[in-house]
Symmetry: C2
Subunit: 249 residues, 2 copies
Amino acid sequence: MRAEASKTAAILVIGDEILSGRTQDSNSHYIARFLASLGIDLKETRVVADVEDEIVAGLNALRARYDMVFTTGGIGPTHDDITADAVAKAFGVEIGYHPEVYALLEARYKPGEFNDMRKRMARIPHGAALIKNSISTAPGFHLGNVYVMAGVPMVMRAMLEALAPELPRGIVVTSVTLSAEIPEGTIAPGLLDIQNANPDVAIGSYPFYSEKGPGAQLVTRGRDGAAVERAAQAIEALVEQFGVTPTRV
Amino acid sequence: MRAEASKTAAILVIGDEILSGRTQDSNSHYIARFLASLGIDLKETRVVADVEDEIVAGLNALRARYDMVFTTGGIGPTHDDITADAVAKAFGVEIGYHPEVYALLEARYKPGEFNDMRKRMARIPHGAALIKNSISTAPGFHLGNVYVMAGVPMVMRAMLEALAPELPRGIVVTSVTLSAEIPEGTIAPGLLDIQNANPDVAIGSYPFYSEKGPGAQLVTRGRDGAAVERAAQAIEALVEQFGVTPTRV
């Protein structure tokens, strides 16, 4: 069984707060796992500042190259929320109040509360479709192959959930992870041989240090489950040659 | 007091394991905080796969644009560790065994253990200086404005510590964070006015939801501490106009 060409994706995180070290980005890890569960290959992640030119340049580089781009951050009501305008600029389309979003937001606020800054959340690039926000009303949107989501993790997750049905699905990558109390350098020559003999899988070695000494997590990944299992068994046999019993984790 | 032009930096994380969702990257957050403590402005972070062309392209884009580039990952002994070769290719320089590193590693291993794959860790691009690894011997290196570090967090941190003395220092950014139990949209018009009146600071608004309802962290950042304080006090006064008392966090 060979997988068809799988779909590729990139993430663009928009956030001064990540670059300044104030906040640790958790959205990109969440999206990575989500895409993996759909069989979509995440190929690149970028974090850029809340600066229009940076967002436009990042978007245009990524959307030209990958099947899908997921952005997080910068779609709220405050002056530092400039993602929607940047997306419009990147695509060369107009932006203005989206009647449905305007009505949705107007209904949400009490009289007098729907101020000019909140109205900014109704600005959607022309031609974009909405992504439902079940948490805090103001929707995300997608235009072409770009999916624009909020930065607040709870809201981002709800948006991802909302757009899941329309995303393509591929064959999910299978993986086997072996944990072994052995220095990776000891088995590196054998691992290279196994990788060369199994070109349809990707073998990664991730060293760790515990109180027992150096160890490694040996990860075999691929879309052909039988090929993954064959390579993993070869790695098990390799580790056992050095008198160590690996465990599957 | 005006800050001199501050130094800029980017991070290039090399790691299939991050993109697959297997591992959550913690290195870039650590480096972001470290750079902030030195007064260096982190402008961009990218995560790319363990693919030579991707690493070369990312390196060349970032090193041309920023004063410094910090990479993590891909300098171990296994077949998937290809960062040193990619750096040599990006700079168009030769790569080969570095006599000092070769001797260091040879001395570390017992006879017969210093196999061909471990010898790969002695391959350093010509012209690079070493970055000491106090944890597991095999050093990182820097070439031009690129600093190449390990991916294992404990090792990466030790390398960052080792190279700290040689990094430039700038004026550290001061920040004041106010936490307020108020929807950010309510104060967004006033925040815009304060941002416009205080162009030397950057004001960010980060909404959150608690059991008390919506709130926002209002962050003022800048290199002129007095300007930061003036803007923060203006934000405090703004929030208080709505009958809410913000707290400094």
